[in-house]
């Protein structure tokens, strides 16, 4: 599901400010298949990496509408069409009574759907990633890891290594999961 590249280069930074500055330089140098693996989200990283704002809110809006339609459809079907009952002469389509469930269904569909789509989007809407179980990066601890995949059109191993060192990255290493890593 997630695109994985077996070849690429890793290098890490120690504080968010350094990572942010580096990301902007990678973007400006014209690399496209690069990513930052970080222990927590860094404010401003989207801009620095040249990414657009996430499209998840649109998914939420559509799902919320689906939830509203589902709840209205169910309640009107049951109370007006399939099983109309006379409660003290009140109208069958008593819309104010349908508001609470409509709201709950809207939240339910929107929240669960957005969460699931966001998890999947994180895997699909991305660039080729380092082979996850083969590379211990420390990115879930305290390192801000820059990854450039060999699938990048600009890729040249020597050039990439020189570039990462020029950014001041530590622990620069070439990864080649098929041919073995030099780390």
């Amino acid at each position: 599901m997630m695109p994985v590249s077996t070849k690429g280069i890793l290098g890490h930074f120690y504080v968010p400010a350094e990572a942010l500055a580096a990301a902007a330089k990678v973007r400006d140098a014209g690399w496209t298949h690069f990513d930052f693996l970080t222990p927590f989200p860094i404010h401003g990283m989207e801009d620095a990496m040249g990414q657009k704002t996430s499209w998840i809110p649109w998914v939420t809006a559509v799902l919320a509408l689906c939830g509203v339609l589902f709840a209205q459809g169910l309640q009107n079907y049951v109370m007006v069409w399939d099983w109309p009952m006379n409660f003290g002469g009140k109208p069958f389509a008593a819309w104010p009574a349908f508001v609470p469930i409509t709201f709950e269904a809207m939240v339910f569909w929107a929240a669960l759907g957005s969460a699931i789509v966001a998890i999947i989007a994180g895997k699909i809407d991305t660039v080729p990633q380092p082979p996850p179980m083969l590379v211990a990066t420390g990115a879930t601890v305290d390192r801000f890891v820059l990854w450039i995949s060999a699938t990048d059109p600009k890729w040249d191993a020597a050039e990439a290594e020189r570039f990462l060192r020029s950014l001041g990255a530590d622990g620069v290493r070439l990864v080649d999961a098929r041919g073995g890593s030099d780390a």
């Binding site: 120690y14 504080v15 968010p16 400010a17 350094e18 500055a21 990513d35 930052f36 693996l37 222990p39 927590f40 989200p41 990283m45 989207e46 990496m49 704002t53 996430s54 998840i56 809110p57 169910l74 309640q75 049951v78 109370m79 399939d82 099983w83 009952m85 409660f87 009574a97 609470p100 469930i101 709950e104 269904a105 939240v107 339910f108 929107a110 929240a111 669960l112 969460a115 966001a118 998890i119 989007a121 994180g122 895997k123 809407d125 991305t126 660039v127 990633q129 380092p130 996850p132 211990a136 990066t137 420390g138 990115a139 879930t140 601890v141 305290d142 890891v145 001041g168 990255a169 530590d170």
Partner: protein
């Protein structure tokens, strides 16, 4: 803000050095003035590496004797719940105290009580997130877990209150062979099913989404391949990729924005169970806000109780500092005053409405045979939290703990007062009566605490009890970094 050579946060080693007031850096502000910065949220000079160790430790080492003792007690209480519920289902509703005229007894009281407890977790995770209250990071994981377990406890009561619990699935509207017999969507009890189940599932989703990066941290610390594989699967293979963080952060914000109105709607709908009836004392428009604020109040009391344990039992004082406790004490006092205001408003409206029945019910509440329940409620909820006007009280964990317990007691009695005093004397004096709890009422109430604490104690053993990635995000990088400086820092200086 200009970064100082030595961060002022590096020297704050613990609660003793926190004052609850800003740190003043003389001459560091613009034009040579003073600069005030908030005190650090994490003390003890902790680094990002230390956070992982401090928090994951509890899920990685063999449980302590104290944990086993606490777990043993909780499990015994859970046994009481299982036993009593079996006896109840086998023996029928006759073994508990509900009867004419009080047909809603401890089961509804406990249901509202537990649902209310849950609300603070969502408030901390969602509302404080939207308000950018960074101190929430230390407590939100445990508070959200508390929400889930409280909803689990609450969910039991309407089901056993049905009398024939094995027909509980009739509450779900689905095409069936019983007519088809649908639920009545005009009934607040049907709204409740949707509200509670939505609340439970959305809270679970919100909590789990927050857990993903931390499960990856636990995975990366794991030494056993199975443990590694299990936590990897649970984190859906999280790597920390910023291209994933982008969607993650967007979804997290949306979940917070959806959970905020949800939390208000849930207790509003619970209050509709009462407010849409024609009972004096229930049929009032103040009920939705009154219930919501009471829920937040009682939930914060439970959070304070649990956080006191987490500080004392699990040594989390560097992450849940006295400043966190003080902030919660302030919310407790504010919501306590709002609850007290609601009590007074009810009395005023009972008089101002000119309704004979409404007036009687409220006189009967405060001065009738259940005056003691009203007195416990009013004292614990409206008067006791007033001690938090004094800063020394807000920062004394013993005072906080005692007040939090009293508020929990008071809020249980608030629901007791609402349910019992309205029902026991209604329009017809010939059908007045009294309500007495039987031993099974007590056992099931005690047992529900057993379920709550069993789940909580298991949670602290297998999952990170503090939101690691969020706490790391609010730490000062100059203190938290593991290497003093790198080539990149020098490059940054030149740029």
């Amino acid at each position: 803000m200009t970064r100082h050579e030595a961060s002022p946060y590096a020297t704050v080693m613990g609660d003793g050095q926190l004052t609850g007031r800003p740190i003043v850096l003389a001459g560091a502000g613009p034009y040579g003035g003073d600069l005030e910065i908030p005190e650090p949220l994490v003390t003890g000079g902790r680094k990002w590496v230390d956070v992982d160790r401090d928090i994951c430790m509890h899920a990685e080492q063999f449980p302590t004797r104290r944990w086993w003792m606490a777990f043993g007690v909780a499990l015994a209480m859970l046994g009481v719940l299982v036993f009593s519920v079996i006896v109840l289902i086998y023996g029928g509703m006759g073994i508990v105290g509900v009867n004419q005229p009080v047909g809603w007894g401890t089961f509804i009281i406990n249901f509202v009580f537990w649902i209310g407890i849950g609300h603070a977790g969502t408030l901390i995770s969602a509302v404080l997130y939207l308000f950018r209250q960074q101190w929430r990071t230390g407590i939100n994981r445990a508070a959200e877990a508390m929400t889930l377990f409280a909803v689990a406890c609450a969910g039991i009561f309407p089901i056993i209150h049905l009398g024939r619990a094995w027909f509980a699935y009739w509450l779900i509207p689905y095409p069936n062979a019983r007519g088809p017999l649908w639920v009545n969507f005009n009934s607040p009890l049907a709204w409740d099913i949707f509200a509670i189940s939505t609340y439970g599932l959305v809270s679970l989703t919100f909590w789990y989404i927050g857990l993903l990066p931390d499960l990856a941290t636990v995975r990366d610390r794991a030494t056993h391949p199975w443990r590694r594989a299990i936590y990897n699967a649970m984190s859906f293979g999280w790597t920390g990729s910023h291209r994933a963080w982008r969607h993650y952060e967007s979804a997290y914000m949306i979940l917070a924005a959806l959970a905020t109105p949800l939390v208000f709607s849930v207790h509003t709908i619970v209050s509709f169970d009462f407010a849409t009836s024609v009972m004096p004392g229930w049929h009032t428009t103040i009920f939705p806000p009154y219930f919501v604020i009471g829920a937040i109040f009682s939930g914060f009391a439970m959070v304070i109780t649990l956080m006191t344990f987490m500080r004392g039992y699990f040594g989390m004082t560097h992450y849940i500092t006295l400043n966190h406790m003080e902030a919660m004490a302030k919310i407790l006092m504010l919501t306590g005053m709002l609850v007290g205001f609601a009590y007074s408003t009810e009395f005023f409206m009972a008089w101002y409405s000119g309704s004979e029945w409404e007036g009687f019910v409220f006189r009967n509440r405060a001065f009738g045979p259940y005056w003691w329940a009203y007195a416990i409620m009013f004292t614990c909820n409206a008067i006791v939290p007033q001690v938090f006007w004094w800063k020394a009280m807000r920062r004394n964990t013993w005072v906080l703990f005692v007040v939090s317990i009293l508020v929990n007691v008071g809020m249980w009695f608030e629901r007791y007062v609402i349910v019992v005093t309205s029902l026991h004397r209604d329009y017809l004096p010939s059908s007045w009566g009294m309500y007495a709890l039987t031993r099974w009422d007590y056992l099931i109430l005690i047992g529900s605490f057993g379920l709550f604490f069993t789940l909580f104690l298991l949670f602290v053993r297998v999952l990170p009890v503090v939101a690691i990635s969020e706490v790391k995000g609010v730490m000062d990088p100059e203190v938290a970094r593991s290497h003093p400086a790198s080539a990149a820092a020098a490059a940054l200086q030149e740029a």
